[in-house]
């Protein structure tokens, strides 16, 4: 009986205050839409940035004259170096085969194989790649150049310029998207809270009268909270519908062609929509309940 009464009250005030209610629904809808578009974008960019960071490697070229034993020694030395995640040995022949695939015309003319044997080391933390290089080939102060520690090593290269560029660029992207996300979430909450405040503020006289007639706080509050839930639900459902339509018509056809859109680490779409709806309902319900508190002190 009580639940039915509160629900009826909430529906009645929704329809009697159609304009502010519509404004609240639209606000929730807009913010949910923006968040729903932005969250996957942020995830895709950080995912891409991370996969690029994963491509940072150290190449250790072995001398052609190195013996098998020396190569084994080098391999063991690499295995004991800290911050090493993966060691990949690429033989002369393998290197030639892959290069030939990339540039068939250039390699067709070659008689012998000019490519060296190669150890490719992937670091655990791309930011500390210099430490690996320094350990394998520290800078010799006498000649001002890097000098390999082991006999088998011809040269150690970490593609320094590229690495630095990748690291700084991806770092910036991460920082930027994190900042934007925080800003956007804060703005959304402020916007929804403000719209709710406005619609309740316009009815503070009504609340005052209810208090004077002897209504308890929760008797007044429940219809407002239910109203908040309904507004949040409407906004959330509409936003979810828009997102589903947008995904089906715009994103899915493009996903095959653009790796960015199909980033594997992206949040599950159904979960995204569920989360959005839940937060819409929670924010508007709690917002109504809290805003009302100020007007209940009569």
């Amino acid at each position: 009986m009580r639940v039915a009464f509160f629900l009826k009250e909430a529906l009645r005030s929704l329809s009697r205050n159609a304009a502010p209610s519509l404004a609240a629904v639209l606000t929730v809808l807009m913010t949910a839409l923006v968040l729903g578009v932005f969250i996957p974008i942020v995830q895709a960019t950080t995912g891409t940035a991370n996969s690029i960071r994963g491509k940072v490697v150290v190449d250790i070229y072995a001398k052609d004259t190195a013996t098998l034993k020396q190569l084994h020694e080098l391999r063991d030395a690499l295995a004991t170096t800290p911050n090493v995640k993966k060691i990949q040995f690429i033989t002369k022949d393998q290197a030639l085969a892959s290069e030939r695939k990339k540039h068939p015309d250039a390699y067709a003319l070659l008689g012998s194989n000019p490519l060296p044997n190669l150890f490719r080391v992937t670091p655990k933390d791309p930011d500390k790649i210099d430490a690996i290089v320094d350990r394998l080939a520290p800078v010799d102060p006498a000649i001002g150049k890097r000098k390999p520690q082991l006999a088998a090593i011809d040269e150690v290269r970490n593609r320094r310029d590229e690495t630095d560029k990748i690291l700084s660029a991806t770092g910036l992207v991460k920082l930027l998207t994190a900042g934007l996300t925080v800003l956007l979430v804060l703005t959304s909450i402020a916007l929804v809270a403000n719209t709710i405040r406005l619609s309740i503020f316009s009815r503070r006289r009504e609340v005052e009268v209810m208090k004077l007639v002897g209504a308890t706080n929760w008797f007044i509050r429940w219809p407002f909270v239910i109203e908040g839930v309904l507004v949040g639900l409407m906004g959330g459902v509409l936003a979810g519908l828009c997102l589903v339509i947008a995904k089906a018509t715009l994103v899915d056809p493009l996903a095959d062609r653009f790796a960015l859109l199909a980033a594997s680490k992206m949040i599950d779409f159904r979960m995204l929509i569920g989360l959005l709806m839940l937060s819409c309902v929670a924010v508007s319900a709690i917002g109504s309940g809290l805003t009302l508190r100020r007007f209940l002190r009569v």
């Binding site: 209810m210 007639v213 002897g214 209504a215």
Partner: protein, 279 residues
């Protein structure tokens, strides 16, 4: 007949309170003020050491110029304000001991009528009155029975489904009286109930309040409507600058002077001696 129904219910509500022994000593007053002072933030004095007792079934006018403290009294009784010092009590209960949580239950026993009606603008007449019953958890059947009854009593049986802004001022005030009285509170407060109404409508309103009083409900009316007070000849408590300056059993709006007293005052104002014409 509706009015007898209301009467019976009100008396029933009152007999609950009347269970207290009243034979010896003074009965518990419905409204008690003991040395009550109220100083507003900013230093304006609303009430200064006001003491009064209003017994069950009384009809009392609080009169005085604007700002004399009439509304402060009403708002103290509603516990909308807290007194700076002194004790305000309703039916023997000290209001300062009523917690915020119990406050709604106190207010259900006090009907209030305001100058600006304070109706819920987006509810019909019926729903406005029904809200007072929904608040106290009445069943739907009893609401359906009581609301048309009380609206017939105040003479609005044809306007059940109108909204407040479709009614005249007098009709709106009748709705607010119906709302205040629908659950037969033992105490009815009215703050300038006729302040927004023309004299003829005012008479209808005050007659309605008087009828409610005759069912046994204690009524306190704050007003500066001279005509109304003079016509009713009820107990008058006059306030001025926060103090009680008169408490008269069947008073007029102004101090009731006899013809000879009036003559003396008039002569004094005209500068005429008691002997007669100066020339």
């Amino acid at each position: 007949m509706a009015i007898s129904d209301a009467k019976v219910a009100a008396q029933r509500a009152l007999t609950k309170k009347a269970a207290r022994p009243t034979g010896t000593g003074t009965p518990v007053p419905v409204v008690g003020f003991e040395e009550v002072s109220k100083v507003y933030d900013g230093g304006h004095v609303g009430l200064e050491r006001v003491s009064m007792r209003i017994g069950r079934g009384e009809f009392v006018f609080l009169v005085g110029p604007t700002g004399c403290g009439k509304s402060t009294c009403i708002r103290l009784l509603m516990k909308e304000l807290e007194p700076t010092s002194g004790v305000v009590s309703v039916a023997g209960r000290d209001l300062s001991k009523v917690t915020q949580k119990r406050l709604p239950y106190l207010r259900r026993n006090i009907g209030v009528i305001f100058q600006d009606f304070k109706l819920l603008p987006n509810r019909t007449v019926y729903a406005n009155v029904a809200y007072a019953l929904e608040v106290i958890g009445e069943s739907r059947e009893s609401i359906r029975r009581k609301v048309p009854d009380i609206l017939r009593l105040v003479g609005l049986s044809t306007k059940l489904h109108n909204y407040p802004d479709e009614l005249s001022g007098g009709e709106q005030q009748r709705v607010s009286i119906a709302r205040a009285f629908v659950n037969h509170p033992p105490l009815l407060l009215a703050d300038e109930p006729t302040g927004n109404l023309d004299p003829e409508t005012s008479i209808g309103i005050i007659q309605l309040i008087y009828r409610i009083n005759r069912t046994g409900t204690t009524v306190v009316v704050a007003t500066h409507d001279r005509e109304m007070v003079d016509k009713m000849r009820r107990r008058v408590i006059e306030l001025n600058e926060g103090r009680i300056i008169r408490d008269q059993v069947a008073g007029m709006y102004q101090y009731d002077e006899s013809t000879s007293e009036f003559a003396v005052r008039l002569r004094g104002e005209l500068g005429i001696g008691p002997e007669g014409h100066p020339n």
